[in-house]
């Protein structure tokens, strides 16, 4: 971890700085720092202390402190763990350091590292950090390093509003948008000319209402409510093609643009299908319990209404099957690869957007394949084979076949790779869930209502 500190290399320079303890003692020697010392060792401070955003190359590109300042050097412990983990996915979310605890998440190539000083439920912090990332996504369209850097002032204002003294204050996007307007191209142009700001001129009232998730005074000329029922099939198919595990995970994402304070109720033809449901806070739980109707005053804009699971006890229709033959010959530097994908139980709909990705064993040097449909790529560095199949037509089943070149001299790979399949089926909820009707109360106008069904592959894996 420690390299020669040079002023030219900021990362190394920072890494070489003394640890937190040394830093504290350095501060304490200065008379004006006494309160910091007090805060550090005296009294237990809870919840989130500081936040650092770190990109993949290890630069800290944003820091925010809600309490006294914590030196960046605390991140060295994180870098150490990151190095040890090799893969970004394997960085432990909670790291214990001598004076702090670091709880981090990894989202969109950014590490959100929060500094904690005392006991706190880790999920509390993790969930909050994800909420922060969601908010950035919501505001800037993407949660990337550039977007954050370009909007650093808004980011700062957001963080200021979202957390007070390390405790979440306003995390609902509708409220935040009232406090801090999201940037738009037009507004940034206007702002730069007139010098006006992103901060709302009028102070929000939403925080004070009974429905904290909806902002007040919403007005649309076209009143619309759209619901996307998206179901994902998680499955593990074993070598012989039988299903080891299958389950349907669904969500209903809504885009609601309705004026005023509409009160909606959404009912299903077959609510009993939903085995385990989690709700947006706007949903009246008791109504669901008693009648299986989703009754709610919606937030404005896009949000996830519910997510649900259709239990594995129910039989799950598997829309595709895979015939595969992958073998590596003993004592020769080649192997065979032959995969066919076909439709199965697809309820008469077309399976489209089919993509197969395979992590080939390390011994594979190259692959020489021909695809009857679509195109394939093989990355010799990451050993990932990706085959973009497209639509499956039952008349001519897509097939990918050819030779696998192995490193000469290397032993035959023990394991066969598993195939990860993605697909999409439009206008079908594979569980059979159907929205019965949507009613609106409380407002006079007639909204436009739309429901869309999509089935996708979730974590769909075929073992070979």
């Amino acid at each position: 971890m420690l390299s020669q500190p040079t002023a030219a290399d900021p990362v190394a320079f920072r890494a070489a700085q003394p640890g937190a303890e040394a830093w504290v003692s350095a501060l304490c020697s200065h008379p004006t720092w006494s309160p910091v010392q007090n805060a550090l060792k005296g009294i237990a401070e809870k919840m989130i202390h500081s936040l650092f955003l770190i990109n993949c190359s290890g630069d800290i590109f944003l820091e925010k402190h809600w309490k006294s300042v914590v030196s960046q050097s605390v991140c060295d412990y994180f870098f150490e763990a990151q190095e040890k983990a090799i893969d970004v996915e394997n960085v432990p979310p909670v790291i214990s350091t001598p004076h702090h605890y670091l709880i981090s998440i990894y989202r969109d190539k950014i590490f959100f590292v929060s500094v904690i000083q005392t006991e706190v439920p880790p999920l509390f912090v993790i969930e909050f950090l994800h909420r922060v990332a969601d908010t950035f996504q919501d505001y800037f369209g993407e949660c990337s390093e550039t977007a954050i850097k370009d909007n650093v002032v808004i980011v700062y204002e957001l963080l200021e509003e979202m957390l007070d003294n390390g405790f979440p204050l306003a995390t609902e996007s509708n409220i935040l948008k009232e406090l801090i307007k999201p940037p738009t191209i037009l507004r940034s142009v206007v702002n730069s000319i007139t010098g006006s700001s992103n901060v709302g001129d009028t102070l929000p009232t939403g925080q004070l209402s009974n429905i904290p998730w909806r902002r007040a005074g919403v007005k649309y000329t076209n009143n619309e409510a759209y619901f996307d029922v998206i179901e994902e099939i998680d499955a593990i198919i074993d070598k012989s093609g039988s299903t080891v595990f299958a389950e349907i995970q669904g969500v209903i994402d809504s885009c609601i643009k309705l004026s005023g304070m509409p009160d909606l109720s959404l009912s299903f033809m077959n609510p009993r299908l939903l085995d385990d449901v989690s709700f947006h806070p706007c949903i009246r739980f008791k109504r669901w319990e008693s009648e299986r109707v989703l009754s709610f005053i919606p937030p404005d804009g896009n949000f996830r209404l519910i997510s649900y699971r259709v239990s594995s006890q129910n039989l799950v229709a598997i829309p595709v099957y895979v015939k595969h033959l992958i073998s590596f010959k003993e004592n020769s530097s080649s192997g065979r690869f032959d995969v066919t994908i076909g439709p199965k139980q697809n309820m008469g709909k077309t399976v489209e957007g089919v993509v197969m990705t395979v992590h080939m064993p390390k011994a594979v040097l190259n692959m020489n394949l021909t695809a009857t449909q679509g195109s394939y790529t093989f990355d010799p560095v990451t050993k990932v084979l990706a085959w973009d199949v497209g639509k499956i037509t039952p008349q001519k089943l897509p097939n990918l076949k050819g030779i696998v070149n192995l490193q000469s001299g290397a032993p035959k790979p023990e394991e066969n790779p598993s195939l990860n399949i993605q697909f999409k089926i439009q206008q079908l909820a594979i569980s059979g869930l159907k929205v019965n009707r949507l009613d609106m109360y409380g407002e006079k106008y007639k909204p436009f209502k739309g429901v869309k069904y999509i089935t996708k592959a979730g974590k769909f894996q075929v073992r070979t």
Binding site: A8, V94, T118, P121, E127, E160, V244, E289, S290
Partner: protein
């Protein structure tokens, strides 16, 4: 109130500094020069990196330490836009972690800027640097003090927020004042901010603790959901030990919980977990009794005598039967819905609460929600799996149904894979081990070698835990020894070593096989393990062992230290057992070791030589050498690293790290004796509420005391919930109005709203008044105003008396009842309508039973369904009803003699209310229904459904009616007559008829008011689709004879102990279905008969009670579907 003097006072001692500061502020040039040199030395190399956000770095990037002169100029300008630009750049610097402290004087001047955004950014700056420049920061204080008095609540709140975030010890008194002030602010938002400020002040100056606790105490009593989470947070940070502060607020917190925002929920739930551990008894101390009490909820109240006797016996057997505190139950019940939160932290909080507090039988509910979280982000998965791993050790059964959800995908990150493996291993038992092992088999071929190693260890653990599969596992592991991957082999060797230690004698073959491996295997740990095995069991492989030693001696110098140590070990053991063959080899090895680089090995060699090679000098230990080396060694225990981790509160950081984190509060153990539960009683201001509840409690307790304490939980909440609701609404409305009176600008909207509302109300009231008059003239339908919530009970009784008397036409009775009703009404609502009440009530009596004209003087006139208590907890209170019902019935002369009381009472006792429209869903309108089990007057083919509508809103509900029934073919519905209006707090009861066509399909229709439509549906239990018929035993036999073969359904069952009396059986059957008992000659046979309502097909039920608990149930009916469903329902009823 706050005023300026304190600041001046504070500033005075520092007057010298202060004047300097003033100078600095006025002349920025001076300020830079006077700027402390520390800020330069603090500069870092990354200062030199180009700034991303501001377009021009200007002076800052010229190479010299930045002086920010341009920024200062901009800040001093008159234009807001320039100031804003400057502030944005400064904030960007802060975000980058650069030092901008030298700008402090220039920035702090702008704290009073009119522009909101500039102001906000100045606040950001202040909070960041005030600590470093305390004297200058004081200049800004007066601005905040002014802000604290602003009429706009948001400005007040933000002033307090910033003021409390400036960590300058000198302003502690000001902060204290400000917090106290804000804690009694009218705006809940400001109070919330005050709660947030408490821990900030506490961390600044812990001497303020006592005063802060006072504020916390005050805020804890706050009734708004907005404040609850924040103040509990403050409580947890400042005075978590003052658990006594919670007592009075406990029930309120429980009831408010679902409406608190997500983050607050987590904090409150965690606090309540700790609270409950100190205040309640462990629910698992007496499990058998517990189960019984859980079942009691299903019982009707008729068989009290028998049950009383039994319960008494049970309580005699156990001197102190466990009785769950109703408050304990309240907590469990109110947190359960939060398992469906979208927030993983909330779900986890509830899960840990259940794990630590719930009776064993109930903990299972959390499994499903936790498994759901496994679909979330990988960090969430990681934390949840850690907790599941701990839970799955203690409560394996809980997660067993979800076994497959823990199956591993090749795309999971390794840390997730290993945790899932841990859970799978914990879940393994005799029944599922084969599936798990098959699954493990696929894992072993994974590309992820760390994961493969973990899998092998998992197999080892399965093998030790489940004796049945030990050999299979061992064979599998031995096969792995020929794996190409060295890591796999090595791990297998290590695990096999551990397994062999359990039963070494039978496995010399495996040891031989492993001995051969020493030629190939290079992983030190594996080599060491093999050598240890051979040494330990050298007597089982006498021929091979010396040979292995020979080979090892040859390669000794090239071995790793750990291997060398085992070589020495092996040599020593061989020397002791087989000195003839190995004496020289041992000497050789010891000589090599003597000159090893590692002192550990040199020491060991010296020690062993002394011990085993007998010389004159060697001590007394020599003769014990064999005992020392070849002692029986206990087999290692392979156990989960998550074992016993549950002594940390689940979901906590400490649990995750398996080490006590700073500030972790130990979860206290259950107390042996429950502390006084009365501390949680809250005095309710309204006198009537109190008395009515007490009255009811008395009633409940007397008949039920000994056997159904478990139920008092539901009762408790039944009254505490509406109570708190009303309190809440009361407080919020009052705060709303009061704030509107004092606050001007921004409150205007709100005020307008509330005014409008009150106007509306007035208007409505007027209208209502008019309508009342109208109705009193002509319409027979008029509902009496009724109090909500806890009075309902009392009221119901009143009504019952009234109704019982009503049809009989006994004037006197009716009068007393109406008096009673009016008394309760006037006392509860405090309205002055006392004089009006009797007429109203009378009107209501006329209205309530529209069917009264159809058949007067019939028992069916008794509007019994009206007696049923309000859901959601109908059971306990039904006892009151039925007991008083008996007395009511005594005074009646029954005209219809065919209806024996014996038949009646079970039917009545069993009336169950179902919810048609919940109060929340119906926006204050709550509708319940029940099957009254009497013929529907208009149409004999219809099932009569009694519907009770209560208006809990504060507005009148008009034109209540049924519309747009959506029915299946053949089904018909007879709507109840439209209710023209229902006053607030009033309840109306009507009857409608539905012809279900002898099917259990639901009847869907809309319930309309003048403003809203509610979709509702009524689904009948199969037992309600029939009406009792009376026949003799012979008739019964004859009819039964006709209905054999396909029409006969027979099912065997075992009667639970409580159901082994005539009374209980009859009770349960008649509660499950609307059937009449047929007299029967045989002793242990019970017969019932009924006809389906629509088609009139006979349904005959026979229950034969054989020896002990065995019984056989036969149902004969043409309608096979009904027959099958009925059998199911009856068996279920009997099993309860």
């Amino acid at each position: 109130m706050l005023s300026l003097p304190p600041v001046q006072k504070l500033l005075r001692p520092k007057s010298v500094v202060g004047s300097d500061v003033a100078k600095e502020v006025t002349s920025p040039v001076l300020a830079t020069e006077a700027g402390p040199p520390t800020c330069y030395s603090a500069l870092r190399a990354d200062e030199l990196r180009p700034l991303a956000a501001p377009k021009d770095e200007g002076a800052a990037s010229t190479g010299q330490p930045p002086r920010h002169d341009d920024l200062k100029e901009m800040l001093d300008s008159n234009k807001d836009s320039l100031k804003l630009e400057a502030m944005k750049r400064i904030v960007a610097m802060i975000a980058w972690g650069k030092n901008a402290s030298d700008l402090f004087p220039a920035v702090v001047k702008n704290v009073a800027c009119k522009n909101i955004e500039v102001k906000k950014l100045v606040y950001v700056y202040l909070v960041r640097y005030a600590e470093e420049q305390q004297d200058l920061a004081l200049l800004s204080i007066s601005t905040f003090q002014r802000g604290l008095k602003d009429p706009n609540q948001l400005i007040r709140a933000s002033a307090l927020r910033v003021l409390s975030s400036i960590r300058v010890p000198i302003i502690v008194p000001i902060m204290m004042l400000a917090i106290k002030e804000a804690a009694s602010d009218m705006s809940p938002y400001v109070r919330k901010t005050a709660a947030h400020a408490i821990p900030k002040l506490y961390s600044l100056d812990s001497d303020q603790k006592d005063q802060l606790i006072e504020v916390i105490e005050k805020l804890l009593a706050d009734k708004t959901t907005l404040v609850a989470g924040s103040v509990v947070m403050a409580f947890e940070e400042v005075c978590p030990e003052r658990i006594d502060l919670i007592h009075k607020n406990y029930r309120k917190l429980c009831n408010l919980l679902i409406d608190v925002e997500e983050w607050g929920q987590v904090v409150i739930i965690n606090m309540l977990t700790r609270y409950a551990r100190t205040q309640f008894l462990s629910p698992n101390q007496n499990e058998s009794l517990l189960e019984e009490s859980a079942e009691k909820a299903f019982y009707g109240s008729e068989e009290e005598d028998t049950k009383d006797a039994k319960a008494e016996a049970a309580s005699l057997a156990k001197r102190k039967p466990y009785v769950m505190d109703p408050d304990h139950r309240l907590l469990l019940r109110n947190t359960k819905p939060l398992l469906q939160s979208r927030n993983a932290a909330v779900v986890m909080a509830v899960a840990q609460l259940y794990f630590h507090l719930a009776p064993k039988a109930e903990v299972g509910v959390i499994a499903k929600a936790l498994v759901r979280l496994l679909r979330s982000h990988s960090e969430v998965q990681y934390v949840v799996l850690q907790n599941v791993a701990t839970m799955s050790i203690k409560r394996r059964g809980m997660f067993e149904p979800y076994l497959k959800s823990f199956y591993i995908r090749s795309t999971d990150p390794t840390q997730i894979k290993i945790l899932k493996l841990e859970v799978l291993t914990n879940l393994a038992n005799e029944t599922n081990i084969s599936t798990i092992l098959r699954e493990f088999q696929t894992y072993i071929r994974s590309m992820d070698k760390d994961f493969v190693a973990a899998t092998i260890q998992a197999i080892g653990r399965c093998a030790t835990n489940i004796g049945k599969v030990r050999d299979t596992c061992l064979n599998g592991l031995v096969q792995l020894l020929s794996n190409r991957d060295e890591l796999v082999v090595a791990e297998s060797v290590v695990v096999i070593k551990k397994l062999l230690q359990m039963q070494p004698a039978q496995h010399s073959e495996i040891i031989k096989h492993m001995a051969k491996l020493t030629d190939n295997i290079q992983v030190p740990m594996a080599r060491a393990s093999i050598l240890w095995l051979i040494g330990e069991y050298c007597e089982h492989v006498p021929k091979i062992a010396p040979d292995v030693l020979r080979k090892m001696a040859k390669s000794f110098t090239n071995e790793e230290d750990i291997v060398k140590l085992q070589v020495i070990n092996l040599a020593a053991k061989l020397y002791l057992t087989n000195s003839k063959q190995s004496k020289l080899l041992t000497q050789y090895v010891l000589n090599l070791a003597k000159y090893d680089q590692n002192y550990d090995i040199r020491d060991r060699a010296r020690f062993i030589r002394q011990l085993i090679v007998p010389t004159e000098k060697s001590g007394a230990l020599n003769k014990y050498a064999k005992k020392l080396f070849l002692a029986q060694k206990p087999a290692p225990i392979l156990e989960s690293s998550f074992k016993d981790r549950d002594h940390f509160q689940l979901g906590s950081l400490s649990h995750l790290l398996n080490a006590k984190a700073v500030g972790y509060q130990e979860l206290p153990d259950w107390p042996d004796e429950a502390p006084d539960p009365s501390v949680r009683n809250v005095e309710v201001p309204e006198w009537t509420k109190c008395t009515s509840r007490e009255k009811r409690k008395d009633k409940v307790e007397k008949p039920f005391y000994s056997d159904s304490e478990g139920e008092s939980g539901p009762t408790e909440s039944a009254d505490s919930e509406p109570e708190s609701d009303s309190e809440e609404s009361g407080s919020s409305s009052s705060s709303g109005t009061s704030s509107s009176s004092s606050e001007e600008e921004d409150e205007e909207e709100e005020e307008g709203g509330s005014e409008e509302q009150s106007e509306d109300k007035e208007g409505e009231e007027e209208e209502e008044e008019k309508r009342k008059k109208k109705k009193e003239k002509g319409g027979p339908r008029k509902a009496s105003p009724r109090s909500v919530g806890s009075e309902e009970e009392e009221e119901a009784e009143g009504k019952k008396v009234k109704k019982a008397a009503g049809p009989q036409g006994k004037k006197g009775h009716a009068e007393t009842s109406s008096e009673e009703a009016s008394a309760s009404e006037s006392s509860s609502s405090g309205s002055d309508s006392g004089t009006e009440a009797p007429t109203v009530v009378e009107a209501k009596r006329r209205k309530v039973i529209p069917s009264s004209k159809a058949g007067p003087k019939e028992i069916s006139l008794l509007d019994l369904d009206d007696f049923t208590p309000p859901p959601p907890q109908p059971v306990p209170s039904s006892s009151i009803i039925s007991t008083s019902l008996v007395t009511d019935l005594e005074g009646l002369t029954l005209t219809d003699t065919s209806l024996a009381p014996a038949l009646l009472s079970p039917a009545f006792g069993a009336v169950r209310t179902y919810e048609l429209l919940h109060r929340m869903a119906g926006e204050g309108l709550s509708v319940e229904y029940c099957f009254s089990r009497r013929p529907f007057p208009g149409d004999p083919h219809m099932v009569a459904v009694q519907i009770q509508i209560s208006n809990n809103t504060d507005a009148e509900v008009k034109s209540l009616r049924v519309s747009e029934p959506k029915l299946l073919a053949g089904m018909r519905i007879q709507e109840f007559p439209e209710i023209e209006s229902l006053a607030p707090g009033d309840t109306a009861s009507v009857v409608m008829g539905i012809d279900f066509c002898d099917s259990t399909q639901a009847a869907n229709f809309q319930l309309c008011t003048h403003t809203r439509h509610f979709y509702v549906s009524i689904q009948p239990p199969v037992g309600e689709l029939m009406a009792p018929v009376f026949m003799s035993e012979n008739e019964f036999r004859k009819e039964q004879g006709k209905l054999t073969g396909m029409s006969e359904i027979t099912e065997k069952l075992t009667l639970p102990e409580k159901c082994r009396s005539d009374h209980a059986i009859v009770q349960q059957v008649t509660s499950a279905a609307n059937v009449g008992r047929v007299p029967c000659g045989a002793d242990n046979e019970y017969r019932f008969a009924a006809k389906t309502v629509t088609s009139g097909s006979l349904v005959l039920i026979t229950l034969e009670w054989r020896e002990g608990a065995a019984a056989q149930l036969t149902v004969n009916s043409e309608k096979m579907v009904i027959g099958t469903m009925l059998v199911k329902d009856i068996i279920q009823a009997l099993a309860q």
